[in-house]
């Protein structure tokens, strides 16, 4: 794999289709996002990536290997360095997968997500990728054994390689499915970039759950975009679990285009060391008579930083929308830091909205309550911290998936962060 700056150089000296030309222009005109850009106010990538796409920061190193046996009973769709490995991939009945040229899908993309602006990362992705992967869930298909999409970042040959899968999933009317998508790296000690994109079109009466798990190694930078177009009577459950990477920026963009639809956009991030986790969510109610609910929580240990931006836009004709949003964060580390921005823009007059955000410590009154029942201080702190996180996992519909995530949460985060409590940390 080549470094990005070499790839861009190559593109500049070849003749491009207008599709690729647009992508190149957006890459060059936007540049690496940094804090002067409103959407990147608290995540200055220029601190992490140099102009020639080299890594500037090293993690305060810690690593933990991933248990490969997790989810082994599920159908798997395996990506290696951003490319499908058909030999390891097995799809459940009612579900099909095609590799298609990205340019052939251009009109589909702009039809489904007309609001989507071509930014730096979308630009790179379109420039570099010739193909994308389309998954289709048949109409009325009910898929019990939820397929697991696993992204392995195996062997970037050189520091700074980019892994950029694009997956488009179309859920047929009346279908029901759960997709778990796991990004996990190998402990290869070579930093890599992920720039991933997963889009859903959820047709009438379809129910889909997307559980995204980000456990890449702490050398890497993870940028991702999850998009969904939610149509009439459809239900979208989205859950993001973010525990890995040095820097993770996860964009979740939901376009609600159907009445009587339900969108649940939840997540949890746990960061320690000098990790930086940024969840950027944008929920757009284009039509009314529907609901969206969001609960995002974070726990930050050591000197980790967290960012949450939660835009909810209710357009003028979107009457009778019921929308809730809550972001809660716990700071465990003396140098940990959180920035949260709930942003509500309502242009319709008859809507129900509730939103809020908190940043703080574990509630001392809750600690005392447990202590007064015989539970030791550090046990009480552990219980409450676990409960704080587990409360979000309970939003996941599929029980087996929820249990696997609870295990991952423990292995990748709680085992370390909560153990401090025993060492007399507040």
């Amino acid at each position: 794999m080549k470094k990005l700056n070499e790839i861009i150089k190559n593109y500049k000296t070849t003749i491009l289709s207008s599709f690729k030309e647009d992508a190149l222009v957006s890459v060059e005109s936007n540049g690496i996002p940094y804090s002067k850009q409103e959407n990147w106010k608290y995540t200055n990538l220029k601190k992490f990536i140099s102009e020639d796409f080299n890594f500037l920061k090293k993690p305060k190193s810690f690593s933990s290997s991933t248990d490969e046996t997790l989810f082994k009973d599920h159908h798997q769709i395996v990506f290696e360095d951003g490319h499908l490995n058909p030999n390891k991939t097995k799809l459940p009945a009612g579900c099909s997968l095609k590799e298609q040229s990205i340019e052939s899908q251009e009109s589909n993309i702009s039809k489904n997500f007309p609001q989507d602006k071509l930014d730096f990362f979308e630009g790179i992705s379109r420039l570099v990728n010739n193909n994308l992967y389309s998954i289709e869930v048949d109409k009325k298909a009910i898929i019990d054994n939820s397929p697991i999409i696993i992204h392995h970042t195996y062997s970037p040959q050189s520091e700074g390689s980019w892994v950029q899968p694009i997956i488009n999933i179309e859920c047929g009317a009346f279908s029901q499915s759960t997709f778990v998508e796991i990004y996990h790296g190998k402990e290869n000690q070579i930093p890599s970039f992920t720039n991933a994109s997963t889009s859903f079109v959820i047709n009438e009466n379809a129910i889909v759950e997307h559980v995204k798990v980000q456990i890449e190694d702490t050398q890497s930078i993870h940028i991702s975009k999850v998009r969904a177009k939610v149509l009439r009577d459809a239900t979208f459950h989205s859950f993001t679990l973010s525990l890995g990477s040095l820097v993770a920026r996860q964009n979740i963009l939901v376009d609600i285009d159907g009445e009587n639809s339900n969108s649940h956009i939840h997540g949890f991030f746990g960061a320690r060391g000098n990790q930086h986790h940024d969840i950027f969510s944008h929920i757009n109610h284009h039509v009314g008579h529907n609901e969206s609910h969001q609960l995002v929580k974070g726990i930050l240990d050591d000197e980790a930083r967290g960012v949450f931006t939660g835009k909810i836009m209710i357009h003028r004709d979107a009457q009778l929308v019921d929308s809730t949003q809550l972001n809660k964060n716990i700071l465990l580390g003396p140098k940990s830091h959180m920035d949260t921005r709930p942003q509500l823009e309502v242009y319709a007059d008859d809507v129900k909205c509730a939103h809020g955000a908190t940043i703080g410590q574990i509630d001392p009154e809750e600690i005392f309550y447990l202590q007064s029942r015989g539970i030791k201080l550090h046990e009480a702190q552990k219980m409450l911290c676990h409960a704080f996180a587990f409360d979000t996992l309970e939003k996941i519909k599929s029980e087996t998936v929820r249990e696997s995530l609870a295990e991952l949460l423990y292995e990748k985060f709680e085992k370390y962060a909560l153990e401090h409590f025993g060492e007399g940390k507040e």
Binding site: F368, Y369, S372, R373, G374, I375, K376, H386, F390
Partner: protein, 252 residues
Amino acid sequence: MLIEVKDLHAEVEGNEILNGISLTVNPGEVHAIMGPNGSGKSTLAKVIAGHPAFEVTSGEVNYNINGKMQNIADLEPHERSTQGIFLGFQYPVEIAGVSNIAFLRESYNAICAKQGVAEMDEQEFKNYLRPKLELLEMSDSFLDRAVNAGFSGGEKKKNEILQMTVLNPRLSLLDETDSGLDIDALKIVAKGVNALKSKYNATVLVTHYQRLLDYITPDFVHVLYQGKIIKSGGKELAHQLEEKGYDWLTKN
């Protein structure tokens, strides 16, 4: 003697709230503490339970541990609990994400560990709980819900008493457990408290109302005012207070 509070002074953020309290409770006794809002009743209960927000500036709290009166100033709240001190909160907190049964079992097992008794597994513990739930007329559904989350005011108070019956304390400090209860719930809660009464343990009831004392008869009634006990008497004192209020005691 079970507990002896001696000239206790306590403050929070520099404000003195307990202003020299002395109180002795023997095993088998029931004490009622009454007094106007803000007089320091909850503070007294919390200080005895070891709440870290309050600083004891002078005086002491001595408690009977293995037959000896010991100053408990240095005991952590969880140690006071495993030694048999129970605080029934005026405002029980809600704890999202922790199921009531997991909480009850964790707490029960903490006491078992302290006493060197074998812990109970989930099924054993459920069997142990069943008669207690029946006594308090609580349905099983309260066990799987998060601790106090979405419980009505009365349900929270019942849940406190459930915890009390599970932990079987030697000293119960029940802070306004009767407030917010309808008359049937009040009778049930009183039944729970009375079921636990023995010559080995004692109960301190903080209350504003005589009606609780119709069901749990106190041996002593104390009036707390501005961080001090200004009057003590028998159960007839509660009737007097019900009739006359506090003015006749505070205006001299």
